[in-house]
């Protein structure tokens, strides 16, 4: 099985990337352990794809070093880095069949025909592509193209897999399916993987560790649940979690509920009580602006004075739109941030 390939560590040390006057990455440092699934997550333009391209060798760092398996690879050609990349657009060669797409890198590497056939067969079996070997990419569905793109990466037995938003062109249902497939494949292969996405659900479900990026810098690195439960900044708190965390001015809370240095208080939608059973910290009377039923649960959009809040409720217990409710939250579920957005409690 292709799963015999083992990952190596990847290290970005004070990597800077400038395009003309624009600085895309500011002295970015990140250490990815061998065999780890690291997800770089952040909004568009935060530099996550640039960081990935630097590891691939498709961009050169302006300053700093990129190391793969302990070797500085700044001057190493992409093909010699032991990495394989899955592109957002799949980047399949449109004039080649699935078989030719999979075999292309192996032919260039001058491998024996029997080895090439064996590796293609392995990938095809792992990705259930047997029926599509002689088709062109234009004859495949989005999910099948995605599988071929992954197969093309797999056949090379890379030490590091790089994924650049590989699921963003798929519909929601297929995305969930492919997400699970990628996760299973990684468990089999145990290669190191660096995965770029702006979708925090993908980040949470796939990652061993998440690096949350913003404006060319890493705001926080950690396991998904740690990043979710212990966000270090207001940005991380707002970016990780669906629906997004609610934020209100700290002085809106009852006296003594917030530390003196806190400027903003945050709490997750699932922490907001609107069922009449008041929790420890009262937020006040809020009006129900909108209900979004999701099946068993519902998102309840509230107006609390000039602030918009989101709460979660059971669908059958959600209040009607226009109704007044008393909103409250447990003190342990509150997060506090200072004026710069750093977490203070």
């Amino acid at each position: 099985m292709t799963g015999t390939s083992h990952g190596v560590g990847v290290e970005l040390d004070k990597v800077q990337k400038r395009f003309g006057a624009a600085t895309i990455l500011h002295e970015l440092s990140l250490s990815v352990n061998p065999g780890e699934f690291m997800v770089l997550v952040g909004p568009s333009g935060c530099g996550k794809s640039t960081a990935l391209r630097l590891v691939a060798g498709l961009e050169e760092p302006t300053a700093g070093t990129v190391s793969i398996g302990g070797r500085v690879v700044n001057d190493v050609d992409p093909k010699d880095r032991g990495v394989a990349m899955v592109f957002q657009s799949y980047a399949l060669y449109p004039h080649m069949s699935v078989r030719e797409n999979l075999a292309f890198s192996l032919k260039l590497a001058g491998l024996a025909k029997s080895t090439i056939e064996e590796r293609v067969r392995e990938a095809v079996r792992a990705l259930s592509l047997e029926e599509h070997l002689d088709r062109r990419p234009s004859q495949l569905s989005g999910g099948q193209k995605q599988r071929v793109a992954m197969g093309r990466a797999m056949v090379r037995h890379p030490k590091v897999f790089l994924f650049d938003e590989p699921l963003s062109n798929l519909d929601a249902q297929l995305r969930v399916k492919m997400r699970a497939e990628i996760s299973l494949l990684h468990r089999k292969l145990r290669s190191t993987a660096i995965y770029v996405t702006h979708d925090q659900v993908e980040a949470m479900t796939l990652a061993d560790r998440i690096a949350v990026m913003r404006g060319g810098r890493i705001e926080q690195v950690g396991p998904p649940l740690e990043v979710f439960h212990q966000p270090k900044t207001q940005f991380v708190a707002s970016f990780i979690g669906t629906p997004s965390m609610n934020f209100v001015p700290a002085d809106l809370l009852p006296r003594g509920a917030a530390p003196a240095s806190a400027k903003t208080a945050g709490f997750r939608p699932e922490s907001v009580r609107i069922d009449g059973k008041a929790a420890g910290v009262a937020l006040g009377a809020a009006s129900v602006a909108l209900i979004e039923p999701l099946g068993t649960g519902a998102h309840v959009h509230l107006r609390l004075g000039e602030h918009a809040l989101t709460a979660e409720a059971r669908a059958d217990a959600a209040p009607a739109a226009g109704k007044k409710v008393e909103a409250s939250v447990e003190a342990k579920d509150l997060f506090f941030f200072d004026a710069e957005g750093a977490r203070v409690a």
Partner: protein
């Protein structure tokens, strides 16, 4: 379904009228005249059946012109496609001064054949021309480009390629712009060097453009007239006497309208056959999407 009535025809009329007047009617008239012996200036024509074609088939002069045309095709079509491709690749890869260089390379396309030919007459002048002066600086005695039977056809071909390769550059640049950058990046990661990337990724995606440009260049080569007329007038010793130039001479110098019309029909069939052969050869090599 509602009948569209006359409106579509009315809308097509501005395009159809000139097409019929300047393409369809002259083509049909050529076909008709090729079967006649036409008296100059009188308009009187006598039906001679395939006599004009029989004469053509047995004419050593026409066979010579066909050989010159084939040679001219080799000298012009392949270089203008290859140089056009090379220049487009270089411009595409190098963004510096790209706008200025694109303009410079494409400029010859926008000037008339007559003006381009005049320019080359000055360049080719054996005594005062820049070309021989430059060769002289390198210690080489330049030939009489347009007067020497060995050099006349290559000289006209050089002027033709210079005039036409810019047209190909425009199409190749458009074709190169449609090559997704992530494909070449994927190929880099797959281990393809610059040549392998060109051979296995860029060229196949560019193949529809390459095919179009080749077909047009072959047709242009067969139809080249202006520069031959001005630079050499078919000479010296018939060395630049192409099929089109021979046709012109028979039609408008010797006034053998029927015979010249037969040549026009044969040239049309040659170009049609050449294009059909190219389509056939390209069938498996051109990748559309």
């Amino acid at each position: 379904m509602r009948r569209a009535g006359a409106l579509p025809w009315l809308l097509l009329l501005p395009a159809l009228l000139p097409l019929c007047a300047f393409i369809v009617y002259p083509a049909l008239e050529s076909l008709r005249l090729s079967l006649h012996e036409v008296a100059p200036f009188s308009g009187r024509a006598a039906f001679v059946g395939l006599e004009n074609y029989r004469l053509l088939a047995g004419s050593p002069e026409y066979a010579h012109c066909a050989r010159v045309s084939l040679l001219f095709l080799v000298y012009t079509a392949a270089p203008s496609v290859l140089i056009g491709l090379g220049v487009a690749l270089a411009l595409d890869a190098n963004p510096f001064f790209s706008g200025l260089l694109r303009t410079l390379f494409v400029l010859p396309v926008s000037i008339s054949s007559a003006m381009a030919a005049m320019l080359w007459i000055f360049l080719y002048n054996p005594t005062a021309g820049y070309l021989n002066r430059i060769l002289e600086l390198a210690g080489i005695a330049g030939p009489n480009w347009l007067g020497d039977p060995r050099w006349a056809l290559p000289a006209v071909a050089i002027a033709t390629v210079w005039k036409e390769f810019g047209f190909n550059v425009i199409f190749f640049l458009a074709g190169l712009a449609s090559v997704p950058p992530e494909l070449t990046e994927a190929a880099r990661l797959d281990g393809a060097g610059p040549w392998a990337r060109f051979r296995h990724v860029t060229l196949p995606i560019l193949s529809p453009t390459l095919f179009f440009v080749t077909v047009v260049s072959v047709i242009n080569s067969f139809q080249s007239f202006g520069q031959i007329h001005i630079l050499t007038g078919g000479g010296p010793a018939g060395r630049t006497d192409t099929l089109v130039y021979n046709l012109y001479r028979d039609a408008f110098v010797h006034f053998r309208t029927g015979y010249a019309s037969a040549q026009a029909v044969v040239l049309f069939v040659i170009i049609l056959a050449a294009t059909a052969i190219q389509f056939r050869l390209a069938q498996r090599r051109v990748h559309y999407g």
